[in-house]
Amino acid sequence: MQKKAASVSRIIATIINECRLFLKDIAGLSLLLLMPIVLTVIMALIQDAPFREYQNIRFDVLWVDNDHGQLAKKLQEDFSQTKQFHLVTSVDDKVLDDAAVKALVQKGKYQIGIVIPNGLSAEVINSANQIANDIGSKIGAPGKLPQRESRPGNDIQVYFDPAAKQTFKLSIMNALEKFTTKSEAELTLSRLAKTMKSQDSDTNDSVNIDLQNRLRSVGIREASPVNANIYSATNSVQHNVPAWAIFGLFFIIIPIAGNMIGEREDGSLTRLKLIPGSYFDILFGKLFFYVMVGVVQFYLMLQAGVYLLPHLGLPALYMGHAPISLFITAIVISFTATSYGVLIGTVFQTANQALPFGSISIVILSAIGGIWVPVEILPYALQQLAKVSPLHWALDIINDLFLRNGSFYGILPKLSMLLGFSAVFFIIAGVVEKRRKR
């Protein structure tokens, strides 16, 4: 009992001492707390655009209409009606032509240019007439619309800035495809209605409307796999704030490793080892202190996501409905980061060795762990590699809690993985320290 009390007393003394050492370095303390918050906010802002759905972003689209027909007009209307596109038909008071569009897009002044070829509408109407006539003849409609042989080579030309990303191109092409198909379908339906109108004089445009409505009878709606009350859409804030908060938290290895190496260099470690009692009491006190600093740092970064980012035009961070599980998770993540700091501080002899290695290793672990880019979009091999990064497990647990309505028992195996990483870090540090004593 007395031994236990002595042990607790040593732990408390160490926590107080670490606190004193920490407070002596106000600049370092400020950097440790502020820099990760700045990083989190900046990354959330920067990565906001790629995370937004493209329809929420307004693009200037160079538009050249060489057709001046029904389809070109319909496409122009559809493009103009969406908030996604702003059609530009003239630049510097000059009406655009094909060559001007190519030049402007190639220079990167505009990202997209669309050229509607001459005769497109006529070609589409001819196709629609062919379809309407085919159907009409099968159902015995008397009317026959004029038709001719199809003429190939009437493709809509789309120019992209050479620096445009593939995902961006794909998104624009999909939108264009959708509008074109819709216009073609509407045109075909209206032509079909025209053939039927000839059969029944009472039939009017309502046929067209009915057919269109019927075609729209099956819709697609995104549904939440979790409780309806749970926030389910990810966005820049929802990915970046936890991801960079974890990244920033792992940078606690810098003060820990620096502290350990400093103690070795200035001899204070020798003093601690000369004192009777287990050195583990002292180590535990240090760990406890740094784990708590990490937890405070982590929550500060999350709070920046909740309260600061909305003032910068971003959505507020949604932190789920499991505050106790989140607190335990924060402790476990901070403990893992701290144990990694102990490993770095033990293995390396000087700060010049430890600090660059520590920093770069965190950047590498964060890259393979899905902090920069979600792991789901990486190749299979890299997805498997992500499992060796504690940052991957940390982010996965946070996503479970924030987005997947995860329970404590659900995240327990992943928390155990993080504790497993800590155990490995401590074992390696212990072996290195033992070998050093020889």
Binding site: A6, K24, D266, S268, T270, L274, P276
Partner: protein, 244 residues
């Protein structure tokens, strides 16, 4: 107070052994000097005595306890002043001593009184709140000694406690050590300052190449080797060749 039997130690990757069968015995209540040229094995011996380094072979018994099995008991009875200033430079001397005292199980007013008692003895009481990093070399050495005294050790071990200090600080330290010994405490001391060692030590053991070369009462050794002083004796025994 100290019994070293056939002590061997070779550090990993070291080309030569640091200790090769060292045997020394110091009696209780004396000031004993552990002397030797650079690389003789003094610091290794002290490191083994206080448990910082594990021996390869041999036995060390300190105040009746074996370092291999009763290290914690030994640590309670000894105070060690390492060669380096083993204190946190960013903290004040009071904060440093308070932490060390608490780790020894001292607390409250008793600890505070003890800290100020020693700060006064070593002339640091007016600088109690000053950071160690702003101390002079002599002040740091004195603070370093106080950290080894707070738990009132029976045996005080000092590894070159006066290295790099001015005459005034050295005199203060020497006077304290004499006084501390007069109170019944044993002291083991290493130094390259042989004049100082001759003045202070009742017994000296000179080691070289990890082995004991000579051991005995300081004055008797000087006289039996027909030396003028301890430095003369030291050079006669260890030679004049410069050591690295």
């Amino acid at each position: 107070m100290l019994q070293i039997n056939n002590l061997h130690k070779t550090y990993k990757h070291a080309p030569e052994p640091s200790l090769q069968g060292l045997n020394i015995q110091f009696s209780t209540g004396i000031i004993a000097g552990l002397l030797g040229p650079n690389g003789a094995g003094k610091t290794t011996t002290i490191s083994i005595i206080c448990g910082l380094v594990a021996p390869d072979n041999g036995d060390v018994v300190v105040l009746g306890d074996n370092v291999r099995s009763e290290l914690d008991s030994i640590k309670k009875k000894i105070g060690v002043v390492p060669q380096s200033i083993a204190l946190y430079p960013q903290l004040s001397v009071f904060e440093n001593l308070q932490y060390v005292g608490k780790l020894y199980g001292l607390k409250g007013t008793a600890l505070k009184d003890k800290i100020y008692h020693y700060l006064k003895i070593f002339g640091l009481d007016n600088n109690a709140k000053k950071s160690i990093k702003h101390f002079s070399g002599g002040m740091k050495r004195r603070a370093n000694i106080i950290a080894a005294l707070l738990h009132e050790p029976v045996l005080l071990i000092l590894d070159e406690p006066t290295a790099g200090v001015d005459v005034q600080s050295r005199n203060m330290i020497m006077d304290f050590l004499k006084m501390y010994n007069a109170q019944g405490h044993s002291i083991i001391y290493t130094s390259h300052l042989l004049e100082e060692a001759q003045e202070l030590c009742d017994e000296v053991a000179i080691i070289d190449n990890g082995k004991l070369v000579v051991h005995g009462n300081t004055e008797e050794l000087i006289s039996s080797h027909h030396a003028n002083n301890l430095e003369d004796l030291f050079l006669k025994i260890t030679g004049t060749k410069v050591r690295d």
